[in-house]
Amino acid sequence: MILTVRDLEVTFRVGPWFNRQPILAVAGVSFDVDAGETFALVGESGSGKTTLAHAINGLQDISRGEMAFMSQRIETSSPGEMKPLRRHMAMMFQDPVGSLSPRMKVGDLVVEPFRIHGIQANLQEEARRLLSLVGLSGDFSDRYPHQLSGGQARRVGVARAIALNPKLIIADEPTAGLDVSVQGEVLNLLNDLRERLGLAMIIITHNLHVVHHVADRMAVMYLGRIVEAGETEEMFRAPAHPYTATLLSANPEPDPDKARNRISLPAEVPSLLARPPGCEFHTRCPWAQARCARETPYTENGRKRHVACHTPLAPGARPPATRSIQ
């Protein structure tokens, strides 16, 4: 086990100073990532995916829970203790161009991790090696970030992430904003490096098609909680949580004649300031029953498949014609 996260909570305070209200952006999340494994965190905007990634990296203070990376506690580590840990834990941020300093050349950007961690190396040589690993020619060394396309900037981000041979890469929306013809290149590159260097990866995305092809295991988040987690293939074949089933059915596919057994959701995503009682998905769940509005479904948090639902779905279940509660 390279990373374990237990009952993690992140609280933000929002509102004017005289009326600060706490909101739970991450509300008790637990999961493990094994060495060499790709784990995907899936969910819609506001489900707490990015906040969770920042918390793992020590970029976000947490209000409760435990995290351990390579058997060392993250949340109790001081910044001085975090620094050597971060060598082994690389982050790829959402915006590929925005995460590169506009005043630095690509050749300097990819070896910046060496400078930060004070590691002696032949930097020019390393820059060449890293750029060739991500499939960029040496000419790129002298370019500035604004001279790169989205896909190239992504590659530079990957090169920075793998510079110090990390054990874990956290990639936040690695394909967002990329064209389909380029998106495959970045995913293939990550897959390839994972195999060659034995990296573990956490991929954060809302693109389920991407998850299907790259992740070994996945977790679906809703309002800051994991509602279902398990092996990717198993979850695609037989989603057990109604929200997972909805997300999978809402994935437009490039085939005009495909039968679309879509599950449509009534109502909007609830506000984090007013979490629904009981099961938090019951306000939108087509299968919701009276019990769901009262009792919080129990989940166990192990490596096995788990689902936070009172009545997990059978494979291929279709929603009832009318909801039994209003």
């Binding site: 819609e44 905007s45 396309s149 989205g150 064209d179 389909v180 013809s181 380029v182 998106q183 495959g184 290149e185 995913l187 293939n188 897959n191 809302h206 389920l208 098609h209 991407v210 299907h212 092809h213 790259v214 990717t232 293939e233 909805t246 997300l247 809402a250 994935n251 437009p252 596919e253 490039p254 085939d255 005009p256 004649d257 495909k258 679309r260 879509r262 449509s264 959701l265 909007e268 995503v269």
Partner: protein, 318 residues
């Protein structure tokens, strides 16, 4: 009968490095009551096309030649006043970013009132129409929504309000520029269904721009595929998705991870980059990335037509 007909449209931008030919000989039709999708990747000229239709090209952009026929009149020949009368009433637009489309400091009701300025109805009737329109796009409690401000709505609701405003004047043509790109999967689907429903009710035509193949396949009747400023293929949605003729279309479809139901660790890609449009190649625009390139591809390919399905490729034989 066509609502919109684009004929050999050429648009050029003046840049420091010389004229950039952003659109070259673009031709296609938007027939009445149909939803036509324009699909293509960054730099293919989708946005330039919309701006040219709306008469909103940047100062350094110019329609060099060609026609944009809207209800038999050429929009490229209209003066700015005539164009202004056209926009918002006969042709309306929904943009990608719903927050940017709404004024953050004016209430939704007031904004909806403002866009009806051409109508002769009284204030009460206009407000009633706003409420009715918000109900049709399923905004909960539409009456009280009028007095609320854009930031009080979620992203999906804001986009639905923007759609309500675009449909308000019952336009003949709705141009939707990546309207679902900023939305999550469940909202994306809801927005597509809503657009389909409103299009059927109002009976307008829709020009739908997207890079998302799944959305295009689901929503559109006809598809136009653009690459680096040219239309490389067009036909019905079934023709394009089931029987693509142009190598670019074929490879683009193959690249979409959604198209592969079996899990693969190696996703297909299209290596290479789009050519520099300041000096586009003389022959086929896709040639340097095409894996079936031949010597003949150094000359411009003809447009081949088969039962309404057209493609610009030397390899396609009628």
């Amino acid at each position: 009968m066509n609502v919109l007909g684009i004929r050999n449209l050429n648009v050029t931008f003046g840049t420091e490095g010389g004229p950039l030919r952003a659109l070259r000989n673009v031709s296609f039709d938007v027939p009445r009551h149909r939803i036509v999708g324009v699909v293509g990747e960054s730099g293919c000229g989708k946005s330039t096309l919309i701006n040219a239709i709306l008469g909103l090209l940047a100062d350094n952009g110019q329609v060099e030649s060609g026609q944009i026929l809207f209800e038999e009149r050429d929009l490229t020949q209209m003066d700015s006043l005539e164009m202004q009368a056209m926009r918002g009433s006969r042709i309306s637009t929904v943009f990608q970013d719903p927050m940017g489309a709404l004024n953050p400091v004016i209430s939704v009701g007031k904004q909806m009132l403002h866009i009806q300025y051409r109508s002769d109805l009284g204030r009460t009737e206009k407000n009633a129409r706003s409420v009715e329109m918000l109900r049709r796009v399923r905004i909960p409690d539409p009456k009280s929504a009028l007095s609320r401000y854009p930031h009080e709505f979620s992203g999906g609701m804001k986009q639905r309000i923007a759609i309500a405003m675009a449909m308000m004047m019952e336009p003949v043509l709705l141009i939707a520029d990546e309207p679902t790109t900023a939305l999550d999967a469940t909202l994306e689907v809801a927005t597509i269904e809503l657009l389909q429903e409103l299009q059927a009710q109002i009976g307008c035509s829709v020009l739908f721009i997207s890079h998302h193949l799944g959305v295009i396949a689901e929503l559109c009747d006809d598809v136009v595929v653009m690459y680096a400023g040219e239309v490389v293929e067009r036909g019905t949605t079934r023709q394009i998705f089931h029987d693509p003729l142009h190598p670019y279309t074929e490879r683009l479809l193959r690249c979409d991870p959604a198209g592969q139901s079996t899990r693969t660790r190696h996703l297909p890609t299209i290596p290479g980059e789009i050519p520099d449009l300041r000096d586009p190649p003389k022959g086929c625009i896709f040639a340097d990335r095409c894996d079936r390139r031949e010597t003949i591809c150094e000359t411009a390919p003809p447009e081949v037509e088969m039962g309404g399905h057209r493609a610009c490729c030397h390899r396609v034989k009628p």
